[in-house]
Every structure is written in C-alpha cells, then in structure tokens.
Symmetry: D2
Subunit: 398 residues, 4 copies
C-alpha cells in the first residue's frame, strides 16, 4: 500500500499512480502488450531542443494598435540580438500602421513572409511566438495541421486562457526558453530530492520550460457515397481539420431545430434536438463549451467533451468521454434541414443527410509553453478570464 511517505517522496504528478492490476487472490487484468502505451507524466513535460532553434514565426493580433510597438520591439530583438530568421504572414507587411512606422523600416526587408494556404511552413519554423489574444494561438494551430513547433504566447494586457506570458522583459523570458537546452542540470537524479523540499522549486529551477501538450481533435467530413478507398485518399490529402478548441455542429441559418445523431465507437448514443452540438478538447472547455454550460476540464485530462447548444430537453447535461473514442455525427434521417460544421470557428460548411463528421483525438498536440506550471497557469486563467468563483466576501451574511 502506498504510504503517505511514499506519496510525499514521489514526484508531483498529474497522472494518477498506476493502479494495482491484481484483484484479490486470483483475479487480474489479462496482459495484452499490443494495447499498452507508455506515457510521461504531464507534470514533468519539459521543452528541450535537438539543436538550437534558428527560425521563429511571429504571429500578431491584427487590427490592434496596441500590439504594433511590442511587435516591432520583439522582431528587432529577434533579428539583431538573437540572429534568428523571423517569419511573418505576408498580410502583416500590408498593415498600414506598420508600413508607415519609421521604426519598422530598418529591418522590414529581413523578414521572411508566407501566405496562408499557399506556402508550406512545415519544417521551416522551429519556434512560434504569439502576441495578442487567444485567437493568435488558434491561428497558429490552424497553420500546422501536423507537428506544431513550441508556442510561447504573450498577452497584451490581461491573461488569456492560452496566453500566459506578460510582455515586460520579454527578452529574458524568450532567452530562457530558447536556451533551455544549454542548462546543465537535468532533472532525473534530483527530482525526488527537490520535490520533497519545495514544490515550487521543482518547476522553476529546472531551467527547462514546462509544457502543456494541448490535445487537438482530428475532424474528417465523409460525404455521402464516398467509398472507403476515397476516404483513405482524402485522409492522406490532408483534408482533415485539426481543432484546438472545438468543432461545432449547428443549425446554421435555419430557423428550425436541428436533429443530429451522435455515435460513439459505432454505438448510437443520442439524438440532439436544439441549436447544435459542441465537441471540444479540454482546452476548448473554457471557450464556447463553457458558454453552453460545460464544466471546465484541465487541459491535461485526456478527454473529449460533448456539450449540447440550447437543447430542447431539460436532461441533456454535458458529458466527458475518454480521449480515445471515435465520434460520428450526422444529420438524423427525420431532420427537416441540414446542419453546419465549423472548426475552431473557421471553414464553415454544410453537411447533408448521408454525410458524416468523424472526430478523434489527434496525435499532434499544440505544445504550449507554461509561464509557471500547468496547475497554476490554468487556475490563474480561470480566475482572470472567467472570474471563476471570484466573490465578494459576504460580510452581510453574518
């Protein structure tokens, strides 16, 4: 039995301890090595580098004049101090506030540009820096439909769910992340000792930034009458959408309620009658899903959330299912209208009777760098972004 002593000595963990697979004197789990996976504790995930990163993609919030100056400061520093190649979207160069900004001219020509949907960034970008709101990270996610470079996201004002870093003294913070691999003191030998001394020191002295691997959902629309081979082909052609927050199925412009069938692992689970259905990651639990009434799920819980939008039923409470299931969503045969799908708020399209949407967890998460650690970052953002249980002390209830 795990003693308290054991407990205090073990490394702080987000994974539950492995369960004992022996049940009474003779019962046990049948071993099946083909379905075993090894996972590293999310709490111990640290960013490191194979080789020093040399190219960085900078994504800035558009139409926000507050971001102009930080953007210029950051890019200048990356180019001149850090000698990095800096990528920006070509549209950025057309921003009138930048074009006319004198400070921007000197290094304007040093930037590499790309056009969304036309230029392939795969293997070109080592590191991503976002400046602005949560939307910049969603945009970064959309640019990388396979492996995503590590993302460091700065908010410009108040903390976001996905943007934990303050921009003040960005130089030190970015340097720390970039040079994480240079630090000599690795964790393995010292983890146990450290942790028993102080919890905080474990996270802050290691020299390597903590990472939250934000799971994404892999979504594929299969049209009526498509053959299996066609589906495979489509799949290879990257027609999947990877979403970081959620995929939404709704009634679109129709004034009528949708009837949407939900299947999990091939089993018909329920029919949704209402405005629609949200299938979200834990990251997305604090986005649209929370507005529709979902519970908030920490991004390191391996799960998928299913939340109805304004269901015409008193009893359609949101559910949380294991991350490994496959969901299939389609228009009910008795529905009078089609449905509309959108992916992290983009690529809106109609699905007709006979089409289906397939959703599973992707193997390509977004590696999002923590400002402090996974627990602190999340609860800080709940308090600041959602005022979660922020109350006035109720003197008057004495």
């Amino acid at each position: 039995m795990a003693t308290l002593c054991d407990k205090y000595l073990r490394t702080r963990s987000l994974n539950a301890p492995s369960p004992i697979y022996q049940f009474g004197p003779c019962g046990r789990i049948m071993k099946n090595s083909t379905v075993v996976m090894t996972i590293q504790d999310p709490a111990s995930q640290r960013l490191t580098w194979n080789k020093p990163p040399i190219s960085v993609l900078v994504i800035k919030k558009i139409h926000d004049s507050l971001v102009i100056q930080p953007f210029i400061d950051l890019v200048r520093w990356l180019i001149w101090e850090k000698k990095m190649s800096v990528y920006v979207e070509s549209a950025v160069m057309d921003d009138p506030q930048l074009k006319t900004n004198q400070l921007f001219q000197p290094f304007k020509d040093k930037l590499c540009t790309f056009r969304e949907g036309m230029d392939d960034l795969t293997d070109k970008v080592d590191f991503i820096i976002c400046l602005g709101g949560d939307g910049t990270l969603l945009y970064a996610s959309s640019l990388f439909q396979q492996s995503v470079p590590p993302v460091m996201a700065f908010h410009m004002g108040s903390l976001g769910f996905l943007t934990p870093f303050e921009f003040d003294n960005f130089q030190d913070q970015v340097s720390n992340v970039l040079e994480g691999n240079h630090l000599p003191h690795c964790l393995p030998n010292t983890a146990h000792t450290l942790v028993i001394l102080t919890h905080e020191s474990y996270y802050t002295t290691s020299g390597h930034a903590a990472l939250t691997l934000r799971s994404r959902l892999r979504c594929l629309i299969v049209r009526k009458n498509e053959t299996i081979s066609a589906i495979e082909k489509l799949s290879k052609q990257n027609t999947c959408h990877l979403v970081l927050n959620e995929v939404v199925v709704d009634r679109g412009p129709s004034p009528y309620l949708s009837n949407i069938d939900l299947y999990i692992d091939g089993k018909h689970i329920t029919t949704v009658q209402g405005d629609g259905l949200i299938v979200s990651t834990p990251t997305g639990s604090t986005a649209y899903a929370v507005a529709a009434g979902a519970a908030m799920v920490h991004p390191s819980v391996p799960a998928i959330m299913v939340t109805p939008i304004c269901p015409h039923s008193l009893s359609f409470r949101p559910i949380v299912v294991p991350a490994g299931v496959e969901l299939k969503i389609c228009v009910s045969p008795d529905s009078r209208n089609s449905a509309w799908v959108s992916f992290d708020g983009r690529n809106r399209q109609e699905i007709q009777l006979g089409d289906s949407l397939r959703v599973t967890t992707s193997i390509f998460p977004v590696p999002s760098i923590c400002a402090e650690d996974q627990i602190s970052d999340w609860f800080d953002s709940l308090a600041e972004c959602l005022h979660w249980n922020v109350r006035r002390k109720q003197r008057q209830f004495d």
Copy 2:
C-alpha cells in the same frame, strides 16, 4: 500522420493515441524515464484468473424482500453446482425473511460468515457478487480498503449505474466470468483483424469479461498538530478512507454557510462559501455530484471532479482536474463554524479549524465487470437511471 486507414486498423481504444513528442524541426519533450508509466488501454481490459476462484462473497441488499429468492437461488447454485465457498455478512443470517425460509435451511450451515469491521476478508475472497442496488457495490468497496476482488453486480429490476447485469439465467453469466481463463483464444495476434471486421465481435468473442477499473479516492484526515511522523503512522494503520463515489465536506447541522479552502498540489485554488463541496471520482459523477450540477464523466477518464454544493456565487462552475493531483481541503480561518466530512455517505465526522482532508487517487480501483462493454454499459445506465436526454419526439414544433 495517422491515416484513416491506420485509424480503422488500430484496436478500438479509450486511450487517445500517443502524441508525437517532436514539435517542429528541433523542439521535443525532454525525456525523463523516472516519470514514465505504462498503461494498458481501458478498452482492452479483460478479467483473467491466476488460478480458479474458489471463494465468493455474496452481498445482498438489505430490507428488500425481492432479493430473498434470487439470493437463495444464487447461493445454492454456487455451493452445490460450483462447489465454491460462499461468504456472507453475519447480519444476513439474522434476516427474519431468510431465517424462516424453508428453502434456505438446507445449505445455511455451509455459509461462511464475517462481521464488518471485525473480520478481515483480505486474501479470503476471490470474487464478489452483488444483488440489489448501487449501494451493494459501495458496501463491497468499503469492505476492501486495499485490493478488491472482481465484482459482478446484478440489479433486481432496472439497471443501476453500478449494477449492469440482469439476474435471469445468472448461471450462464456467472459461469462465463468464472471460466474466462479457460478459453484458449487470446487476443494479441488477432486483435487487428478482428476489429476491422466488426467492432462488436472484438468485445463479445474474446471469452474474457470486460472490466471497468473504477478509480477510488484515498482520503486522509490530518488533525491539527499531528506531526509528519504521526501522519505516516496513521497512514500505515489504514486510517485512510477509500471512496468509490465521493467524499463530501459540508456545513453539517450549522445554519451558517461554510467557508472551506481548497488547495491543489499545494496551491490555494479557491474558497467555497455555500453548503459544501463534493470531491468525486468519475464513477461518482453520476451520484451526488450530478445532483449538485456536475457534468457526467465516463469512469475511464482519469480525473477527479470538484463540485460545489449550492455555492453562494454565480460563477462557481464544477471543474475536472487530472487524476494525479493532491487536494487539500480545510476550514477557512475566517469561517465561523467547523465542517463535516463523509465518505461515500459513511463515517461522518467533524473537522475543525487546523484539521485538513487530503485526497488523492488510490492505486486500488474497484474492478467492476461489464455486462457488455465500457461505452455501452455507461450510456445505457445514463439513459435508464437519469433519463439522460430522453425526449419525446417533438412533432408539435413543426
């Protein structure tokens, strides 16, 4: 990238596929072998036996005359047909309806009895059969504070969350479970083939019963002024409580709202002002937590739920955190009254200012045998027990 083809070939899984740990050309997770764990996919968990089970504990719902006859039928069959040793609680022998029942007399003396809290069942019981409601499984859980033998739970009427089996032809069903180990065809080699053919065949032809490992929470009350060494001693003395549904902290008989502080991994998360707080397992998400407004979480999601009871705050939405965290709950220094703790509705006791309740996931789950599989059993119980999204077809909304 995982192709659709890959997806259809891989075994149906509840675990998400392992994420790719390479992020862009140079980023990657720092390997740390001390915090790696291997887990077997919950969807593939099958019960097997080291040696044939010979002793069985039968738990029957008390004060329910409907259970008398099934109990007699079952016990008689276990003793005479299966030649097993049958344990029952000694209180059962005093049940007036049994005492006077002629059918019970012939084998009454063959039963082994134990007294709760006095006799130790550890290593004596190979298998557990429950007859009645969800309460019988909670009771079984409370009897085994460490390893729990596999549990097969029959409902007497309508499906429960924890009691998936129908009693009709119990003989075949129990035999199948007991003899699972005799079947020759193991899965490993054939899994891939099977699954691509039909999803259902995978689960039903294997011959081994599917298991849900229902996680439990390990709860320890640390009294004010207890030293670390005392705590360790307590811990070793099994003063922990393992709960299958939830541990509840409430204001008890006090008319005033409680002020309860919640810490996660040492960080102060929030203060609850209201009737109390529920910390529950996913299994418990459909018990008291759902009544308090929680989302429903599938039992194979490795998570802990924190749900306030009637919070005096509009914004205290329930949260779901990773199964590996440690929660500490204590009375706030500014609270005018103490709080009360209960464990799966039992062992109610007061905690004062200075005391604390520590909660983590236990390594001893309850291995609960599925009637069909983890997904089907759960959704069937949601529909039947909670009428989850059971609606009338809304003809009139045309």
Copy 3:
C-alpha cells in the same frame, strides 16, 4: 389578519391577496389614483360571448398527413352542424392531400379563404380552432396583431404547451365552448360556497371555459436617425411585432460574439457577450428560453424573462422582471458586428449600430382556452412535453 378560515373560504386565486398598505402605526403607501389598476384574478377568468360566435378560423398544421382527416371532420361539422362560416388560409386549398381527397370536395366551396399579409381578418373572426402543434398557435398569434379571438387548440397525439385539447369527441368540447354563454348558472353568488366544497367542481361545473390570457410582447425596431414623430407614425402603422413566445437577438451568421447592450426603463443594465439574448413571455419560458437555461414561469405570472444565449460569462444567470418595464436592446458601440432579431422565429432582420429594439408587454394577450384549468394544464404540459422531474423511482439507492 387573514385566518385559515378566511383562506379556505376565499376563492382559489392566482393573484396574491391584496397587501395591507398600513405599515406600523403611522407609515402607509401614498395613494395615487392615477396609477391604480383593477385586475381580475386569472384563476377566475372565464370566456363568455357578447353574441353567439358565427365565424371560425381553422388553422391546421401544414405538411402533416395526420391532420388531414381531423381537419375534414372538423370543418364539415362546423359548416353543416354548427352552421358557422369557416375561414382557412388560401394556401390550405392548394394542399395536394386535400385537393384529391374525395371527402373534402362537397364543402370545399363553402370555405372562406384569406391570404396571409394581404387580407385583413380583424373583426371577421369570432373564434379560432388550431389543429396540430404549438406552431399553429404561434401562427394564429401572428395573424392578429391587435385583439385576438379566443383560441381552442387541439393536439394530434401528445399534449403541447399550447395545445391542451384532445381531438376525440371534439364535437362536445367545441359545443361547450361555443355555448358557454347559454348556461344559466353564473358564478358570482355561488363561488364561495362551491369552493369550500371541492376545488375541482369550481372549475368544471361552471359551464364557462377557463381562459389563460397569454401575455404578448410588443416589439418595435427604431432605426438610427428616426425622429420621434416618425416613430409615432411607424407605431401607428402597425409596424410593431407582437410575440407570444419570444423575441431573439443573436449574432446571425457572424462567427464573432455579439456585444449587445440591455437597458431597462432607461437604465443600462448589462452588456451581453455571447450568442445572443432572449426576451420572452412566461409562455415563452418553456420554448427557446428553457433550452437556453431559463426557469419555467407560469403564464399567469406578470413578468418578462431575459435569458442569455451561451453567454461568455459564468455569472449571467437568467432574470425575471416585472411585466410593466420597457426594455431597450441595441448593438454595443464596441461591437464589431451587427445583430439579428427575430419574432417568434419569424421576420428575421438585421439591426445595426444606432438602431434599437424596444420591448414592452402588449395590451393584447392571446386568450387561450384551458382544457382543465391554468394550474393543471401547465403542469401537465411540463410533465409531458419536457419530462419535468419525471424520474425512475430509485430503488437502488437504498
């Protein structure tokens, strides 16, 4: 002080008893006769007629073959037995299922038809009968933007919120309603006596049908730059929309959240950020509002409900305000997009920055005839349409 005796003698009431306006020895309400109104207890509202009704509008659900035969039976009986003038919408005559129905031919030419939006039904229709779902009553409401004739609504299958009557033996039921004025025994003198004997007898023996006066909301869109005089003109031109369920303001096809400002009686109350806002009558509380999370409000509570749709705030609980307030809703100056308004699901239109929507309670309710009485009809529909608190008896929680 009201004694229990008083209480049992007074007529069953839905209005609270008049409060005592004397507060302690010297305080009292300042009398102000200009703002006094007299109201009759909703529980005592009975339908009567100035003169025998001779024209009846029959509204049938469209595209539902189950309604064809009842429609024919009803119309034939109204024309031949009751000698009434029967109005139907002209589109009904084009229904292929009717056109080819032999039973319909004999009296087809006896029907009066009207075209929605072209022919004025005011003063032409004494009585309305609806056949089908709740939508038929919404449609009836939309046809009469001022005084609405009494409505008797039959469901075809299961009870609706607005359709309490079963079609079986419709002849007796319709006759009772039409002849209510012929019954000699009026209530006034006998009410007190009756009620002390049995509650039910009061409602069922009176001979006059109970009425629910379903309040409607009077909605006016005021465009930017419209002058007061123009507004008055518009108002006189019947450009108001009267809704029976709700007026909805939402983000329309925009992917961005709306920012909508809400004013009550000229005071800025809050800004909604989310999918939108529902302003509903008590009748509408069980329609879209309940899907968005509202409480259910009995139709005789004089109130207006304000319910956000998927608000991006944990603390935006629905509110219920007095029926007499005026609401003003407009696009926030800092909103990046316009909003869309619809009235009982119809007349969808855009509002821009500078436009506003004004909502008050109309003086023209929909007089909806009860099958039993206001309390029974409402709770029966909650149970049947929404499964309100319909549970399985929880044997297993023993």
Copy 4:
C-alpha cells in the same frame, strides 16, 4: 391600440398595462366582481405618514465591531436631534464593546429595550433602521409577524440585497424619509408631465421615498390528526411563520435522500428526491435559491419560486408560479425518513409523515425603503453582491 405616444406619456410602470378584455368581435372575459382587486403600480409606491413618526427601532448587526461607532452616532442623533424614542433589543445593552464605550454612556439610559419573544412591539414602533447586513432585515421581519413598520437599511461597507443605503451623511437621508409627508408637491397632477421630460426626475423630485413592498410567505405546519377547528385556532394564535426569503424543507441530518411531495392548489405536482426544496419569495430568489440554481426574480414580480436542492434528477428545473397559489408540502408515504423545515434559517423543526407545511403569500409585506428606485436598487445589488454578468472585456477574442 396603444401608440408609442401613449407609451411615452404613461407613467413609468412596473405593472403591465391592463389587457384589453375583448377578444375578437364577440369573445370577452366574464365579469366577476368578487374576484377583482385594485393594485397600485409598484413603481409609484411612495412612503407617507399618517402622523409624524416618533418611535424608531434600531437593529444592529451583532458581533461586528465596525457597527459600534455608527450605531452610537445614529442613536445619539435620533435621541438628541430628532427627539425620537429609540428601541433596541435588550441584548444590545450587554454588548461588551458598547458597555465600555464612553461615548455610549450619556444616552444609554434613554433607550427603550425589549426582549425578543417576550415583549410585543406591535403598535410601539413607527420606523425601523437597520445597520449592517441583510441579516438585520431578516431579523426585523421576524419581529413583526403582522404589519411591519417602514424599514430603512444601511450597509456598512458594500451594498447588500436588502441594505441599499450608505451610512455617510445618514442624517440627511433619515430626515428626508421621516419628513417625506411635509413636502407640498404631490404627484398625481404632474406625473405625466414630469415623466415625459425626464425619467429620473420622477423618482427623485417627488420628496417621498420609493418603497419596495417585499412580499412574505405565510407558512403553517399542520400536524397529523389536527382537526380543521384546531387548525383555525392555531392560525389565530399566530403560530404561522412569515418568511421574507424562504422556507426550506430538507433531509436534515439523515444521510438518505428525502422524498417530499409537492401540491399546488390541491393538485399533486411532483415528488422531490434530493437534498430538499426551497420555497422562496422573489426577495429570496437572490438568497439560498440562487445558490441552488434559481433564476433571479425582481421583488415586485408577484410570484413564488420553487427550487429543488440537489435533486436526483437531471430535469428538475426551478419553477416560478403565481403569488396567489397555495402550496402544500409533505413527506412522501414511501420516504424512509422525515424532513426538516426552517423559516428564513430559523425555527428549525421536524415534520413527520402525515404532517404538512402550507405556504401562501402573506398580506403583510416588508416595506423596504429604496435608496434610488426599485429597478436601480435591484440591479445595483445584483452587480455588487453576485457579480451578475460582471465580465472582463474580452480583448483577446478578436
């Protein structure tokens, strides 16, 4: 039809305009003068006095040192400047912080004291001033089980739901209320003119304080086997409880769920299985009921709210019913345990099978003086006490 012009000319109102009782050419409401009541618009309720108030009851929050100085300042001023008789509870004189306070000694002997439950305050108190939290107003309500003198409630710090006044310059504020009757300009003739000019002037220039008449619920426990005559006797003996917030029925110390039957006007409405049931006034909708999930109802809506506490049902949404109904609540015959009742958190007592609790709206409201007006006071308290829809502006969602 009401024109916009009409609307702007009519006095701001909380009552809806009287509906037109003519429905189409011949339908109308049957007149029944016995069930007609006249009500004055809540928005026009102003406090006036038959004669100048001379006695004032001061209620101060206990155990709160912040209230000591304001209490002394207020009482001294009332006695010496206003020449009023001041009543305080006798327990106040024993407060150690007062006893030793030098400032309190000079007029200590001028105070009239009373003992709760022993001395009758009826007809002795003209006016009530509360200092502290909402609890002081609940206490004031409990002291006056029939007519309640006007109450002016000061908060000591932040706004409460029931305590709208700031203590700064209390002298002017109290004088204004006390002298309201001296102002010469009455409303009737000028109301229309005023209101069209400016909404605010209507409320602030009238010289008379706006009143919210907070309805109370009249609760009577009828024990098993009590005869009707005994009930009447009890009723006359003032054994009723009048609650300002709510009456709560819960399972008390029992670990089992309660089964509670709810009847409205004699009809069985539903059975509650859960922690209990709250029956609240609109005032109480922002107290315990809001914690249990209720919508917030403005105090001038004539309604009663029924809210379950942690119901074991997904579909038990709170309901709002007309203020005039009678509720009966009793333990279900199939419940295994009794239930407990408490009235505004006091007088907790058990009800057994066969007992029943009867609840109706009382004719004795609490006349609570507004700081501004009914609408502003309520929304200000929602924002400050519950942070209702208080959000951060979401820059990052661009």
